[in-house]
């Protein structure tokens, strides 16, 4: 399977191929022998050319992976061949910046916008409270509020859509 990693506007090809119960992974012109074992869900033990890596992987949304190594977390944007085709055909109109998500689990204490309302970049949309700290979520771009899913007083999980915006002159 051929994937593409998007990083800083560049496309890095990655190829995953099964072999002998493990994988050959071709990344940026180098081929790695990889053995992978999922120890508990989300926790992988990888042997990469003999190097042992313990890695947790979490996919907050399709095509995005948060990978924790010893020294910190990397965000990897990875597309399958189909994803690449769909994107090139403009299939990804519902862009990321226009979903406003809760950055953490918490409680919605205030909703500041209503559907149809026009907002400009930096406007406050929703206030979420966790452990007595209030956090105002702001618009990342200009837009028009398509839908408000946050309800005041409700507890929400991290990564949940709270407000959907339509781009202005998408």
């Amino acid at each position: 399977m051929r994937y593409v990693i998007l990083r800083d506007g560049e496309q890095v090809p990655v190829e995953v191929q099964e072999r002998d119960g493990g994988y050959l992974v071709r990344l940026g012109g180098v081929t790695h022998e990889v053995d992978s074992r999922e120890v508990v869900p989300g926790l992988l033990s990888l042997l990469v050319n003999g190097e042992s890596w313990e890695v947790t992987v979490y996919s907050p949304e399709p095509n995005f992976y948060h990978v924790h190594l010893w020294d910190g977390m990397r965000r990897v944007e990875l597309l399958s061949p189909i994803d690449v085709v769909m994107r090139s055909q403009g299939g990804a109109t519902a862009g990321r910046g226009l979903h406003v998500r809760s950055p953490m689990p918490g409680k919605v204490v205030r909703v500041l916008v209503a559907p149809g309302q026009r907002v400009t970049k930096g406007d406050g949309l929703v206030v979420v409270e966790a452990m007595k700290m209030q956090n105002e979520l702001q618009a990342q771009d200009d837009g028009i509020v398509r839908e408000v899913r946050a309800r005041e007083g409700e507890n929400v999980e991290g990564g949940v859509d709270l407000v959907l915006l339509d781009p202005v002159d998408g």
Binding site: P41, Y58, R74, A130, G159
Partner: protein
């Protein structure tokens, strides 16, 4: 003393239960409705619900706690740290109810609780205090005049304060009025008391504190210092004993001053005198914490003395079992506080469900925690979920073991500050012991965290994870199967 109630939760409640077990005493836990399955409830001998999740209705609810003490037949109450631990009224109410409060007398709590009063008492007792005002400031005018007197930069501090709230650093005269207003209103918000006083600001200070133990018979000993200079927004993050800056002479000098400070307020039980230390090693009384500290474990590791047990014995009326000359320090210990917070997202708290946890273990490692697989980190309380402490023959070994222990530490389900801690303890300046309270922004920049660059193994992991997820889902199309749930589980936050 046969039965003790612990008026607290989290790791400190667990730690006190362990001390009681080791002394063959019964432990009575109290819990809010949010904590029914918590570790302290399950490890205690008895446990009683004292109210709804908010602290004000449970862990700060004196009536409910005293009622449980009565019902359960507890003879004493250990307040831990935070909550009611430095509440003189609670200490007094325990006494009225015929219960032993495991802490100092109410008068000592009061004397040290109001910061300008404490400064006056200390100055009078011959304890060096930072130059500044010994009374709360009347207004911004007085503040300006006093600042002129001691010389800029100055620090404004809430008299009722603690924990960095109501504090402002002022570099020059023109900033003073706004800073005074801010500090005062923050002090009102946080402590219900807007009184503010002023000290000369000590630049690049170290925060070093001295642990003392005092029994009811006038015996006071110092247990050595802890270096607590690694702070983020006035919150201690990494602590150690001994301080890399302190040698035997400075330790003795500081220790004797600390003993003097404790005696000046008739102190009994475990207490900590916090000092600000300047680059030349001059130290000034900052405040006294009239309770067990979060970071007490590093002192235990190097002295071999169990401070929680010592507290309980002192409260039970025992004499100290050792004298100053019996104490010695072996090796070096470092503590890291694990918080449920996300360093990559402005250190926002990250409550949630713990899907899986693996604690570090092995030589030189001590863990005090309240986390467990399937446990919840609640919205309602402090986000500290564990303390990792390492010991080594020397400081470098303790630091390397800390790096090793943090690397082994794994929580799936919530974010923690583990990687932030790793960045601190593996930094060359930390390893060299070059510490001060400005360490974190100096080392890690304004964001106080460095996101690491791309890594081929992360790319490989993402690709294999995507590949295996897709393969797992294939046979499941169109049915209520295990496919989606496997996916869902597999994507639990790492």
């Amino acid at each position: 003393m046969k039965k003790v109630l612990i008026a607290n939760r989290g790791e400190i409640a667990v730690r006190i239960i362990r001390a009681l077990r080791d002394m063959e005493m019964s432990a009575v836990a109290v819990f809010s409705e949010a904590d029914r399955a918590a570790r302290h409830v399950r490890l205690a001998d008895e446990a009683y619900c004292i109210g709804p999740p908010p602290s004000s209705e449970s862990y700060l609810n004196m009536d409910a706690i005293l009622d449980v003490a009565k019902r359960s037949g507890a003879e004493a109450i250990h307040p831990g740290y935070g909550f009611l631990s430095e509440n003189a009224e609670f200490a007094a109410r325990c006494a009225e109810a015929g219960l032993v409060f495991i802490g100092p007398p109410p008068a000592a709590i009061r004397a040290m609780g109001e910061k300008t009063q404490a400064r006056r008492i200390m100055a009078k007792a011959g304890v060096p205090v930072v130059p500044g005002t010994l009374e709360p400031l009347r207004d911004a005018e007085e503040a300006a005049a006093e600042a002129q007197k001691v010389g800029y930069p100055v620090m404004l501090k809430a008299a009722a304060g603690g924990g960095g709230k109501g504090m402002r650093l002022v570099h020059e005269a023109k900033e003073l009025r706004a800073a005074f207003r801010d500090a005062s209103s923050e002090a009102v918000q946080s402590f219900g008391d807007g009184s503010v006083y002023l000290e000369k600001a000590i630049l690049k200070p170290r925060h070093i504190e001295m642990q003392i133990l005092a029994d009811a018979y006038g015996n006071v000993v110092y247990m050595g210092e802890r270096e607590c200079s690694i702070q983020r927004r006035h919150q201690k993050i990494v602590e150690e004993a001994p301080s890399p800056m302190v040698g035997p002479e400075m330790r003795a000098a500081m220790g004797e001053i600390a003993v003097k400070a404790a005696r000046a307020v008739g102190y009994v039980n475990a207490g900590t005198i916090e000092f600000l230390v300047d680059e030349r090693g001059r130290f000034y009384f900052m405040e006294m914490n009239t309770r067990l500290q979060v970071e007490h474990a590093v002192t235990e590791m190097v002295t071999g003395i169990d401070l929680a047990r010592a507290q309980i014995r002192i409260a039970a009326g025992e004499k100290l079992r050792f004298r100053q000359e019996d104490l010695s320090i072996r090796g070096s210990a470092i503590e890291c506080r694990i918080y449920a917070e996300d360093p990559e997202n402005h250190f926002l708290p990250c409550p949630g469900k713990i899907e899986a946890v693996r604690l570090p273990e092995g030589p030189g490692v001590r863990v005090d925690s309240s986390v467990f697989t399937s446990g919840e980190v609640s919205l309602y309380y402090d986000p500290m979920v564990a303390k990792v402490v390492t010991w080594g023959r020397d400081r470098i070994i303790a630091a390397r073991s800390m790096i090793r222990a943090l690397q082994e530490f794994q929580i799936v389900g919530i974010r923690t500050n583990r990687n932030f801690l790793l960045q601190i303890v593996s930094h060359p300046e930390f390893l060299e012991g070059r510490l001060d309270t400005g360490f974190i922004p100096r080392i890690l920049g304004e964001r106080e965290f460095r996101s690491p660059g791309p890594h081929p193994v992360a790319d490989i992991a993402a690709a294999i994870f995507a590949y295996e997820s897709a393969r797992r889902q294939k046979p499941c199309v169109g049915g209520a199967t295990t496919g989606p749930s496997a996916w869902r589980r597999a994507t639990g936050r790492g």
